[in-house]
Amino acid sequence: MSSNQHPKIIHKKDLTFWQKLYIPEILRGLRLTLAQIFRPKFTRQYPEERWKPPASFRGRPVLVEENGVERCVACGLCARVCPALAIEVQGSETELWKERYPVKFEINMLRCIFCGFCEEVCPEEAIVMSDEYELTFTSQEEGIFGKDKLLMPAVKLKDRLEFLRQHR
C-alpha cells in the first residue's frame, strides 16, 4: 500500500526563544496552580463528608416497604424488562389482599446497569431507584442482593417517590 510506504511526517511546533529558556514557563505554570488556592473548593472530604444526590439520581434499586411489607406483588415485569437480566423474582401466595408477594427477590448488582427500567415498568411503584451509590463487594455472591438488603421504608424514599409522581 502506497500510504504505508510514505507515512505522513508530523512536525512538532518549534519552541520560541522564551519557551526554550524553560524557567519563565515553569513560573507561569506555578502561578496558575497557586491561583487555585484562592478559588472556591470543589472537592469534599469523602467519606466523612458525603454527597446527597438529587431526587432525579438513579442509585441502586430498592424495594419500597410499607406497613412492614413490600409493595411488590411479584408480577415479574421488572425481571422481564431488565436488559441485563439482573433481577430474579419468585412469587408465592399470601393471605394479604394483594394475593401474591415475592418469596424471593434478588438483584445481581454486578449485572445491574442502573437504567431504571424496572422502576419505570413497575405497576405498583414498588421498586424505585434510591439515592445510594456506594456498592462494594469482595465476592460474586456478595453482589447478589436479597430482600434483606433491598427492602427500604417508604419514608426514606419520599423524595424519589415524589419526583416520580411529578414526572409520570
Binding site: 406483588v73 411479584a74 408480577c75 415479574g76 415485569l77 425481571a79 422481564r80 437480566l85 430474579e88 412469587g91 408465592s92 401466595e93 394483594k98 394475593e99 401474591r100 434478588e106 445481581n108 405497576p123 405498583e124 460474586q140 447478589i144
Partner: protein, 569 residues
C-alpha cells in the same frame, strides 16, 4: 356447498359451517372468547361480530351459518367500532390486576385489549366487587371478579366431561360462576376448564403463582400417565418442570387432558428421591433403616460391574424384565441385549387398574407403552415364560440373576420376598423405590422428561417424547432443548441456570454401554439410530422416522393383537 366471500377472498365451503369456522380454516382470524371448536355455540361474548352484506345489523360469526352468495367483512369500520365497544363493556367490571393475575401473558382478554380496544374507559364508577379466592374444587381456584361469563367452563363440564357441576347464578353485573349446591368441581377433567378460561378467573391451585408464563420454556411431549398418551406441553423453568398443559391432537386427546396426568406425571422428575448417580452395593456397607447400603460410583465402574456379573451366570440363570414405562427404543435394545446373552426368560409387567377408565380419555392400563413393548420383539423371545414363571424359578433357585429396566416389581411385598433371594439383581431406576432397596446395582436412568424416544399408545399410535429437563451430561443449548429467555441469555454462573441436575442416562444408552462392555459393537450414538434400526427390522414400524412422526405421531402398520403377559398390578 356455498360460495362466499370473506374480506375479498372467494371461497367455496360446506354450507353447514359457521362463518368463524370457515374463516379460521382459511387463515382469517376472527376474535372470540366464548366460542370453542369442540363446545356448543353460546354466542354471549359478542366479540366475533362481523358485517354481512344485505344484513341490517352486524352478526356474530360463531352462530351464523354460511349461505350461498354471502359477503362477509371482518375488518370494516363498523366491525372495528363494534369490537371496541364490546371490549369497553367487558372491561367495565374486569379488574385491571394483570400484574397479579396468573393468566397474564396468555390471556385472551389482555391480547384483544391490545389489538382491538381503544385503551380508554369512559366508565367513572366503582367496579363491582366479587369474591377473589373461591375454591371451586380440589384443583381449581376461581376469581369471580375476573370472570367474563363466557360459559366455556360450564359447557365443558356439561358436554365433554358429562359432569354438570358448574352454573351461573344471579343476573346482569351480579352474575357469578359457582358450583351446584353440595357439588364440587371435582370430576377427573376439571382442570381443562383452566385452559378453556379465556381470562384468569379459573386458575390451577397447583401451579398458582409459581411462575410467570413467559419465564418458562415449553416442550412438546406425551403424557406417560396411561395408555392413551395424551399430547402435552411440558413447561420448565430453571430445569424444573412446573406444569403440564394439553396439546391438540385430534387423533388422540383432542384439546383435553385428565387431572391425574396433569398433576402426577411430573413431580417425580425433580423429587427428593431421585437417584442422582449410579449406585453399587459394596461389601462391608450395611443396609439399615436410614441407609440403603448403596454407594454412589462412576458410570464406568457400575457398567463394568454389571458386565462382569452377567458374564458369570449361565444364560438360563438370567432373567430380564422389560418395562411398559420405558420407550420403544429402550425395550428394543433390552430385548436385543437379552438375545445377545441368550436369555430366554423375558417378561414385562402390566399395570392395570380395573374399572379406572372412561370413554373420554382415561385408560385402565396405567403404562404409556404397553403396546410398544409387545411390538418391538418381546413376543418372539418370550418363549412361554411369563413373570410368574420367572418368580417361581427364582424361588426354586434356577434363576439367579435378574435385570430390570424402569419398573418397580418390588412394590408387591410377595414379589420382594422372592427378589431378595437373587444372587445378582440390577435395576435401571430414576427414583428410589421398593425395588432399588433390593438391588445390587442401580443404574440411574433418565425419566421421560429427560430423553428422546417413542411410546406406542393403545391405538397403536407411535408418538415422540422430547426432553425438557437436562441431566448432568446434557446441555440445554447444545442439545437442542426448548429455551426460555433466561436460558438463552444467562451465563453458567447465573443462579437461574443452576437448577438440579441428575447424573442419569437414558436406558437405551445404558444398555448400549453394557452391551459394549460385554463385547458387542453397538454403534447407537443417538436414540434416533435405535429407532431407525427398529424401523428397518420391525414390520409394523416400517417407513417411520422421527421426522415423519412429527407432532401427531403415526399408526403402526400391522394391528396384530398379542396375548398379554400375565397380569400383575
Amino acid at each position: 356447498m356455498a360460495k362466499i366471500t370473506i374480506d375479498g377472498k372467494q371461497l367455496e365451503v360446506d354450507n353447514k359451517l359457521t362463518i368463524i369456522q370457515v374463516a379460521l380454516e382459511h387463515g382469517i382470524a376472527i376474535p372470540h372468547f366464548c366460542w370453542h371448536p369442540r363446545l356448543s355455540v353460546a354466542g354471549n361474548c359478542r366479540i366475533c361480530l362481523v358485517e354481512v352484506e344485505k344484513f341490517p345489523k352486524l352478526v356474530i360469526a360463531c352462530a351464523t351459518q354460511v349461505t350461498d352468495g354471502m359477503v362477509v367483512k371482518t375488518n370494516s369500520p363498523k366491525v372495528v367500532n363494534a369490537r371496541e365497544a364490546v371490549m369497553e363493556f367487558l372491561l367495565i367490571n374486569h379488574p385491571l390486576d394483570c400484574p397479579i393475575c396468573d393468566e397474564a401473558g396468555e390471556c385472551k382478554l389482555q391480547d384483544y385489549a391490545y389489538k382491538f380496544s381503544e385503551g380508554v374507559s369512559r366508565f367513572d364508577f366503582e367496579k363491582v366487587r366479587k369474591p377473589k379466592r373461591v375454591e371451586l374444587g380440589p384443583n381449581v381456584m376461581l376469581d369471580v371478579e375476573r370472570c367474563i361469563m363466557c360459559s366455556r367452563c360450564v359447557r365443558f363440564c356439561d358436554e365433554i366431561a358429562k359432569k354438570p357441576q358448574l352454573v351461573f347464578i344471579q343476573r346482569a353485573d351480579h352474575v357469578e360462576l359457582t358450583t351446584f349446591p353440595g357439588e364440587n368441581l371435582d370430576h377427573p377433567y376439571s382442570m381443562n376448564t383452566i385452559d378453556l378460561c379465556p381470562v384468569g378467573a379459573l386458575t390451577s391451585r397447583d401451579f398458582r403463582f409459581k411462575a410467570r408464563v413467559w419465564e418458562m420454556s415449553s416442550t412438546d411431549t406425551v403424557c406417560p400417565g396411561c395408555a392413551r398418551g395424551c399430547n402435552m406441553k411440558m413447561w420448565v423453568r430453571n430445569n424444573e418442570v412446573l406444569r403440564l398443559t394439553p396439546r391438540y391432537n385430534p387423533e388422540v386427546n383432542d384439546y383435553w387432558m385428565c387431572d391425574y396426568g396433569r398433576l402426577n406425571t411430573f413431580k417425580y422428575v425433580n423429587a427428593e428421591n431421585r437417584i442422582k448417580a449410579p449406585l453399587i452395593r459394596k461389601e462391608g456397607v450395611l443396609a439399615n433403616q436410614t441407609d440403603s447400603g448403596l454407594v454412589e460410583v462412576g458410570w464406568d465402574e457400575a457398567i463394568a460391574k454389571v458386565a462382569s456379573e452377567l458374564k458369570s451366570f449361565d444364560e438360563d440363570e438370567i432373567a430380564g424384565l422389560c418395562s411398559a414405562f420405558a420407550t420403544n427404543e429402550d425395550n428394543y435394545l433390552f430385548v436385543k441385549l437379552m438375545n445377545m446373552l441368550g436369555v430366554k426368560n423375558i417378561a414385562f409387567l402390566q399395570h392395570l387398574i380395573e374399572g379406572d377408565e372412561d370413554d373420554i380419555l382415561i385408560r385402565a392400563d396405567k403404562t404409556p407403552n404397553n403396546r410398544g413393548v409387545r411390538e418391538v420383539g418381546l413376543t418372539s423371545s418370550i418363549n412361554g415364560s411369563g413373570w410368574e414363571i420367572i418368580l417361581r424359578r427364582i424361588d426354586e433357585g434356577t434363576i439367579k440373576a435378574l435385570y430390570v429396566i424402569d419398573d418397580d416389581p418390588g412394590a408387591d411385598p410377595r414379589v420382594a420376598e422372592t427378589l431378595a433371594r437373587l444372587d445378582f439383581f440390577v435395576v435401571h431406576a430414576s427414583n428410589e423405590n421398593d425395588t432399588t432397596k433390593l438391588a445390587d446395582v442401580v443404574l440411574s436412568s433418565s425419566t421421560y422428561a429427560e430423553k428422546h424416544g417413542t411410546f406406542t399408545n393403545f391405538q397403536g399410535r407411535v408418538q415422540r417424547i422430547r426432553p425438557a429437563v437436562t441431566t448432568a451430561e446434557q446441555d440445554r443449548a447444545l442439545d437442542g432443548f426448548a429455551m426460555s429467555r433466561l436460558d438463552k441469555f444467562g451465563a453458567h454462573n447465573d443462579r437461574w441456570m443452576q437448577g438440579p441436575k441428575c447424573d442419569a442416562r437414558p436406558t437405551w444408552r445404558i444398555l448400549t454401554c453394557v452391551a459394549n462392555a460385554l463385547g458387542a459393537k453397538w454403534k447407537h450414538n443417538t436414540v434416533e439410530d435405535v429407532f431407525n434400526e427398529i424401523a428397518a427390522t420391525t414390520e409394523s414400524f416400517k417407513g417411520m422416522s422421527y421426522m415423519k412422526l412429527g407432532l401427531r405421531g403415526m399408526l403402526l402398520k400391522t394391528k396384530v393383537e398379542v396375548v398379554a403377559a400375565p397380569i400383575h398390578a
